[in-house]
């Protein structure tokens, strides 16, 4: 299982904070975005259009990253901490 986490405004776009996806031993962000598109087409598109950043196990990754079973994927809108 892969855990997908949503933050800030993305939570209202997908109507959830987190979900679990079973996409086999190895998958890609593209496949994850397609799985997400089934319930939230807008969210899937934001990922494919690189309008959100993605971390895997708390490190930022590019769009072509390989995701493994057990990984924690987070979808991150642009940060706005600090002031």
């Amino acid at each position: 299982m892969i855990t997908v986490k949503y933050f800030a405004n993305l939570k209202s776009i997908v109507g959830r904070e987190e979900e679990k996806l079973d996409l086999g031993a190895e998958t890609t962000l593209l496949k994850i975005s397609e799985a997400i598109s089934q319930h939230s087409p807008n969210m899937g598109e934001l990922i494919r259009e690189k309008k959100v950043m993605v971390s895997v196990n708390m490190e930022m990754v590019p769009l072509d990253a390989v995701i493994r079973d057990g990984d924690e994927v987070a979808l991150l809108p642009p940060f706005s901490g600090g002031v």
């Binding site: 933050f7 971390s55 600090g82 002031v83």
Partner: protein, 146 residues
């Protein structure tokens, strides 16, 4: 790259902090500290022309702390400061309240200014924290500004 830190040095917390207390903690790190630069970010009443009544910060737990610790270690390595501490508050924050504090300490002042200014810019760019502003027209998530 990340190693264990004394827990007070990077923190994300709901509670307010006291700048003097944080500086005193830092001064205990070395008797050779001669300069301490701090940056404190506070909640402004007006942002981009809109009147703000309240702020709310959310973070990605663990990742945000990890990124702060990476910032801290890079500041020590790249700028040669003796040490740095970074605190960011989350949850509801009123106008005028403290949001974020960076403390950079060293023998001389030059590197403390550079490290502190770099750290706050880098925090905004690399640490997963998000701000929601409450204005007359409701609550909005904020797009980042440099």
């Amino acid at each position: 790259m990340t190693t264990a830190t004394a827990e007070w040095k990077v923190r994300i917390q709901k509670e307010d902090f006291n700048v003097n207390d944080e500086i005193e903690l830092m001064k205990k790190v070395s008797r050779n500290i001669g300069g301490v630069t701090t940056f404190l970010g506070t909640g402004r009443a007006i942002s981009k022309g809109e009147t703000i009544s309240k702020l709310n910060f959310e973070h990605y737990p663990e990742m945000a702390e990890k990124k702060l610790e990476e910032l801290r270690q890079k500041a020590i390595k790249d700028f040669g400061v003796i040490d740095m501490s970074i605190i960011h508050r989350i949850g509801e924050i009123d106008i005028g309240e403290n949001i974020v504090l960076i403390v950079a300490a060293s023998e001389h002042r030059g590197e403390t200014f550079k490290a502190c200014e770099w750290a706050i810019a880098e925090l905004k760019r690399t640490v997963p924290i998000w701000k929601r502003e409450t204005t007359g027209s409701g609550e909005v998530w904020v797009s980042p500004t440099p």
